[in-house]
Symmetry: D2
Subunit: 353 residues, 4 copies
């Protein structure tokens, strides 16, 4: 099934070209998998991002995190900040299931790395979360360890968007949200580079929604007869992948710019919205065990970062819009429901372009 | 002389009401003064923001700074972060004149506080800067100490905008920029509060400029036959004043949201653009000398911050646009010049609303 | 059973007086509970610190964390930094069991707060860890949810130290380490205040150990015929409780000074040692739901912090030494063992004072 | 004149070997110069650290700063954190003269780099300070621009310590302090590396002073019949140079460990003491203008950092003691005076070893 994405509605975000699939998986080696639980009160799931095809513990990637708004429980950022590396896949799920996700990811890593806890130290799992309590009975903690493993096993280059994986029960601008992705390509000194973004969107209030500068949220809100309490208790997780050769400081500068894209969709980064960015670069593999020779880390000149800044801003904006426009209507916990943006566009005969 | 501001062009930013003068000086006690040097190669100046009418050293204000992009030389933020207070006026000027500004502000503070350096410790001046090297001969360091004192003496409630004070030689989206201001009012539990923003704008490239979602920069760029190298080596200083009772942590959360407004004018926060926010709250005075009784700091409930977040986003966006639309054409260093946005609107007969 | 602590060996750390029990529980309302698993390959456990006697979710405490060295997986610090509060007990356990501890603490909080995930958002559990892989089969993840609940239920004012709770399998300066505690009292304006520290020690190499300036580690190392590979892969968790009225900024300044005490026991804060401090003040309760009136937060004058800085430095130093001197010999995983410091003192007839 | 340093008193700090001169200038390319003003009320000066022999603006060094306690006004750290480089010499002087030092250093840089402010942007001077108000009339701002230039011109490999340069009027543990330096050497994979530290000491109270674990401050305080108000309003600037190939993240980890050395001399890092560390590595030159090929940055394996951590701790401890033991008695402002530690050792016939 081909999903209709924001570009299919005629909306083109920014100036830069997208990658082949306009997806985080345009960065070579990156794959994404989902497990979706969708039945009655249970509207939740798991999304796994695998950063490269090798053993991430043995060959770590330069990585960085950035907290836009820290009302969130993302795990693993303390060590990522200190050591500057990613050494596991990234798991996204609902807020109250991150303990389970941690346990499952630990088991997955221990199985693949018998040295951990024996001849070498520990491993630092990265788990991100948003709170899907409106549509999902989050207190029930539906996620089990095997779901996490299945999401990892499902990982591939094709990324389904919308109400899937960790996005099953999430909202975006008071409508149904969830998973979205996008990418940008650009060349520096005749070398092509890619930045890909995947979001788990769960933030915003309808009247703030903007698409390419148009205040579509206000229009929709007036068109809809009913309305919801517009209290943003959401969150967004933003995963940024790139093949640019950068230091962790440079990578941090890049991922901070995701806030630009977020802002342009209408967000004011509300108090209750945990917004965390995790970024990694596949350009250099940092060996776990000390190699014979000193590692050299190729890094672009600081002035070349501007293209990357633009890329991450544009791709974040488009990934959010993709999460919104691909999501389907969900009937969830205790009869709570949220409409799909795409259904509203039809219902009210709104053209985006 | 009444300046024509962005609202006078029919552009209304955001949902919240402005304060009486739509200015940072809507926050009671705050005043602003300029000294402008504009002749030939010398296109620079000083802008002073006085945070309250008393002795700021003896009665400090809760304050916080936030670095959006640290390609800048703002002075005083280390101590502000550690101690959480502002104890001097804030001076804005060009990059290479902050030493002079420091010296002048020190002299000003020493004169008013004979205890400093004798019976009590030192004082922490806050100096912000942008680089006006295109229109101004920044190497000549035209600013002298007396200019800083004059800017402080000139301070009043009326804020002139555009090519004045520290903004004399600054650019904004490749056009003439400089000083802009705006404010927002909102009520919490029937008490009215104000957030005011003043910007010194010196960033951005024309083709990125957006006004209320409209890609006016692209339009203008196509209309203009000539173009400039669009390399952003700019900066923006953002000063946020409020009378909200907040802790320095809460204030920091507020001022971080200025990036939302910035993003919506079209910025991607480029590498070369030093973007620093300084915020203070007039709600509580922190005594320099230890008082007899423990100080109690009234602080709003965290959930009430959302209105403040929206306010600072909107006011920052509008302050940037005000700096752009009020600025006048300047012929500066070595024949360099930049047109005024308002002149281009006329020339190409563009309506903003 | 009365344990022999460092003062019982004639060693007096610092200038300030201790609290009544020289324990973190000298801070009113604070209690501590352990569950210890000690059999063969299983040498691990859980330690719970309950910050006050009420409902911590409904009445939060001002809190702050500080990362001395981020080679660690402590959970919950992102939100603590953003919101400045502690809203759950603090759980300490081994590195690979923090997922289980998270799950158990979530269940404990959900049970006591039916609003969570229904009419209000989520809860932010604080879980700290050290890696006990030498003596404990950490890969086996022995900790089960009920252990965490039991540790919470065991909480009381009497704190057992040494090879107990989360400290069961931990090392300190290559010897057996684990749980230690200490406190300091001081008066400001005739009001008495207490700072208490609890550590989970698991760091350091023997030859670096210093007690009150004496290089006892070097002496011991020479006396011992056998030696261990002195590679520090440890960690330390430091919990700081106080009844001082402070802002979260001030609290952060206080807890940073724990590094002074740590340094004086001989640590160089090695690469592999995750060292994280969590602090809270019981002076102010921050209500979860918005109260009718604005909250006022009493805060001491900045100059009075110096006593608190000294107190936390001294108490941290003494807590580490208490963890070392109370710990008992443990035979653990695969025949690995570490001697008790107190046994070595006897064996080599060393007087500490 | 050969100064008697702490090792000449028989005190050996730590386990590692010192460099050839036990000085920051043991790091190849680093030189240090002083200008000392010492007459009556004027007891102040300037110390310049030149990081390498080339043009620091054109060939920048990887650099990092760390704020131990931010009651200080150090300039330039915002940009250093963002860009990770040092591009000027480092100037140390008294608190109220950093404006002058900025101006002088700017002039020095402009003269050597005609591109600045013309074809390239600005330059980011690094100025550190301590407050010498007890012995020096700091309000008089005695430092003039030419003093800064002279300190730069005086720079050489031989570092005079004690009451010289910026240290002329500084105190250490209530006695005369000032400039001190020390270094450590160690090998990784048969390659020798050096870490050098220079301090400007101006902190601490006598009764806290410890030398190699001995509470010499307490002894001295009892021996001295008179005493001073022991209020620490001081500061310390710590400059760390190394030739280790490190990323700025790794360098930051290294320089943070200077607090270990500081703690062992007796400091509790008091409220009023601004304590800032600036570090740089000479291993890689980062070109100002974009080079033809991507820059590769050699970086040691994370596990090899432990030696560097120990080195910076030991060298900082020894540099502080050197600043104390080399300083001479000064009669300063308004008859204020502080004795020299070395004179007290003689007077009370105290042997340090």
């Amino acid at each position: 099934m081909q999903q209709k994405r924001i570009r299919d509605f005629g909306v083109k975000i920014g100036k830069l070209d997208t990658g082949m699939n306009n997806s985080i998986t345009d960065v070579e080696g990156v794959s994404v998998g989902h497990v979706t639980l969708s039945e009655g009160n249970c509207q939740t799931g798991v999304t796994a991002i695998i950063p490269h095809e090798g053993n991430t513990f043995m060959e770590k990637l330069i990585a960085s995190s950035y907290v836009i708004n820290g009302f969130g429980k993302t795990m693993g950022t303390i060590q990522m900040k200190e050591l500057g590396v990613l050494e596991t896949p990234i798991i996204l799920t609902n807020t109250l299931s991150i303990g389970t996700a941690f346990d499952a990811l630990i088991a997955y890593m221990l199985e693949r790395n018998p040295e951990i806890g024996r001849t070498t130290g520990t491993v630092n799992p990265i788990i991100g979360e948003c709170n899907d309590m409106l549509l999902n009975d989050v207190r029930a903690q539906f996620i089990e360890k095997h779901h996490v493993v299945e999401a990892l096993q499902n990982a591939g280059k094709q990324v389904i968007e919308g109400s899937v994986g960790a996005g099953a029960g999430m909202l975006c601008y008071s409508l149904k949200g969830g998973i979205g992705t996008s990418s940008r390509c650009f060349s520096i000194d005749e070398q092509m580079y890619t930045i890909g973004v995947l979001v788990l969107s769960n933030f915003g209030i309808l009247s703030d929604l903007q698409i390419n500068g148009r205040a579509i949220g206000k229009e929709l809100k007036e068109a809809l007869l009913k309305s919801w309490e517009e209290k943003d208790k959401g969150s967004i997780m933003i995963i940024v992948a790139t093949d640019l050769p950068v230091s962790e400081r440079q990578l941090n500068r890049i991922i901070k710019r995701s806030v630009v894209g977020l802002s342009r969709t209408g967000s004011f980064i509300t108090h209750g919205s945990g917004e965390v960015v995790i970024g990694f670069s596949t350009a250099t593999k940092i060996p776990h065990f000390k190699p014979k020779h000193i590692t050299s880390i190729p890094t672009i000149h600081e002035e070349d970062l501007d293209l990357a800044f633009r890329a991450v801003g544009e791709a974040t904006e488009e990934a959010v819009l993709n999460s919104l426009v691909t999501a389907s209507h969900v009937n969830g916990r205790d009869g709570n429901e949220r409409p799909a943006f795409k259904d509203l566009l039809k219902e009210f005969n709104i053209q985006l372009a």
